[in-house]
Symmetry: D3
């Protein structure tokens, strides 16, 4: 089923948040990059020819959070006022984690998800000479706070 | 382990492909968005207040493939010469699929992966009023062809 | 007369609105794309090979409103807080209509005009295989409200 | 009629031009900005407080032609290899004219149309303090050459 | 010494200014382009084939100030609310000067520095057919005001 | 002298390189950031609160080279096919060095200059909490090769 012709009265639009007062918002998100043995080896031995994937991922994720409204067509442009990205090599793969904060009339869930996703794409790019079988997985919102809909926390 | 201090001689740089002749390249990729029941219901009943997520995802993925070099710090800017994104609602969730083609000295794996990833982020954005527990997963390269490293096909 | 050398003391600059308090602003705009018979037929019969121009125009216009400050050199970057684009096929051609809202120290006239203009360019692009003689016309501000200069409404 | 549900088999995609050889392409386009008396006076007397609209329009149009693929969702990114924008004050209003050239597998009609359209939006922005009743009109392709579809020339 | 491995606990992040109240901020900056005789002659005689470098530099600097957060990876996106760029030909070369203003929780030093730097790059580009030995120099913050750290004024 | 009214026949335009065949081009450039003692200390002791400036500068410079055509209004968009940025702490300050390569009908001088300039702006941003008196200086083209105008090498 590739078409939803029943969206007759709900055509795409950017939600109107003009009349909501700005308030402090925060969101955290994570993503994983699963590493086949060749990709893990290139990371662990420091022999990856293109450089250190974790440093690149971290900075790309931070920069990526600022491009969210360019990528997500109906997303409001938000003045990000704080962002942190952590990248770590774990037994299950590379873990990407981001926290984004703002003072705005709408939340920064998409900014946090974009940060970890863009970071993950950069991990792939840095290691793709070692293996093309990496997989980005587990991209999810961990928590959000602020706003009328209240706090959210992902289940374990 | 969050730091790879042994990347002494492999500092990040953009791989030099200047002397490679342009040739036809193609890559396909897929991603999935897992849907909690509330998100699936908003899709299936056509009552999602922000509009049809599948149409938005498709166009956002196509546009996103053109932003790859903005997001992936060490990625070469590539003149995409053909792109197709398919979005479908399946029992397991929303499936995003992309094929990107070019005639260039380097491949379009990152463009295909960026297309499906950006498409998936747009699905999340469109449905996040229904559920914040959606998860983007299974982002992987399905195939590539062209270039010196030869064809690649993901295992089932 | 292609040069206005008398602009001696009025060299281009971005107007200073730093000291104006943010307030609710809204602007609506419209544009038309005149369709030669071949273009209209491609639309009406649903046989246009590149896909549905109206859906693409709508989303491109929404996304375009967020790029206004990139295109209009002296325009302030504005955090758009609401945007709606309508695209309809009328006897005179395709009508593009946009409403943009913000809470900012300056107005969103340029955002609304950019939305309909970018939407119209996308209609042209989608249908140009059918006819290159389409014409974009009647791009104008329909109304604005908010701000010191007061409301504006276009004459019929 | 705001919906074309019959576009079942023609979902939006970027046309595949991968296998077309690059060739020299050129397109010219024009646009007009109709000027109410107050806007014309601000131009002619050189008293427009924001600076000279014609100079800004010219440069914005040139820069805008490079943003075409960001704005037109299904447009191929094209390496513009030459661009010229002329802006002149005529009895009927401000005339914007652009010529864009490239050596690519597809044409630059959209780049030329984007150049004049973006230039026109900048004229509006520069003069909007004088009048909000300006109208952008007559945006059309004047000519194209190169490519399989052969030359095109607009009728007078 | 090309590596600072001792930055263990200070990994790059965007400073969190979420809880700071917006206030009026202003920064001024300058830059110089030193001109070899051939470049100066092309400017003074008005024979530079690519057009007037000073006009282009001025507008490019204004536009560039809006791209700061795209270029400076850890810089907050700031809604510039006023910007002015002056470009003048002096005995020592071309002087670029910028003032940027905002009402935001953090300052606009980077926006002012980016404005003059981008303006200087455009001077180079416009005159590089005359000489490639131009040098951009003296890029510095002249003053800032607003914010907790108080005013700053460069020494003569 | 802030105006060059004699640029009557040389209005700004993008130079037409459509008919030039692509060939291998390379450019190298450098820039310096002069460090007051407080900024140098923050670097050398690894106590800079915002993280390691040299790593950020390197990646920002690489990414910045891809944004050249967005910043330099009349610059051709060039598909960068190789880029390297080196950042080192020297007795005189931070030295930024870049090499950019392409196969294109025009050169990459502006891309190399943009890379070092953007890298330098990032050094400033990372260290500005320690000192605002840093100065970017000595931004110059070191060499270029390829193209009709032949090789260039800066004097010592």
């Amino acid at each position: 089923m590739s078409e939803l012709t029943h969206f007759r009265d709900g055509q795409p639009h950017m939600v109107d948040v003009t009349d909501k007062a700005p308030s402090t918002r925060e969101a955290t998100a994570e993503a994983w990059v699963r590493l086949p043995p060749e990709a893990r080896a290139a990371l662990e031995t420091g022999t990856n020819p293109k450089g250190d994937p974790l440093v690149v991922a971290r900075l790309a994720g931070l920069a990526g959070s600022k491009r969210t409204a360019d990528l997500v067509l109906l997303c409001h442009p938000i003045p990000v006022t704080g962002a942190e990205v952590q990248v770590s090599l774990e037994p299950e793969g590379v873990r990407l984690w981001a926290r984004v904060r703002t003072a705005a009339p709408t939340g920064v869930e998409m900014e946090a998800l974009t940060a970890v996703t863009v970071a993950a794409l950069n991990v792939y790019d840095m290691l793709k000479a070692a293996s093309k079988a990496m997989e980005i997985t587990g991209v999810r919102l961990l928590s959000k706070s602020g706003g009328k809909s209240g706090p959210y926390r992902a289940q374990e």
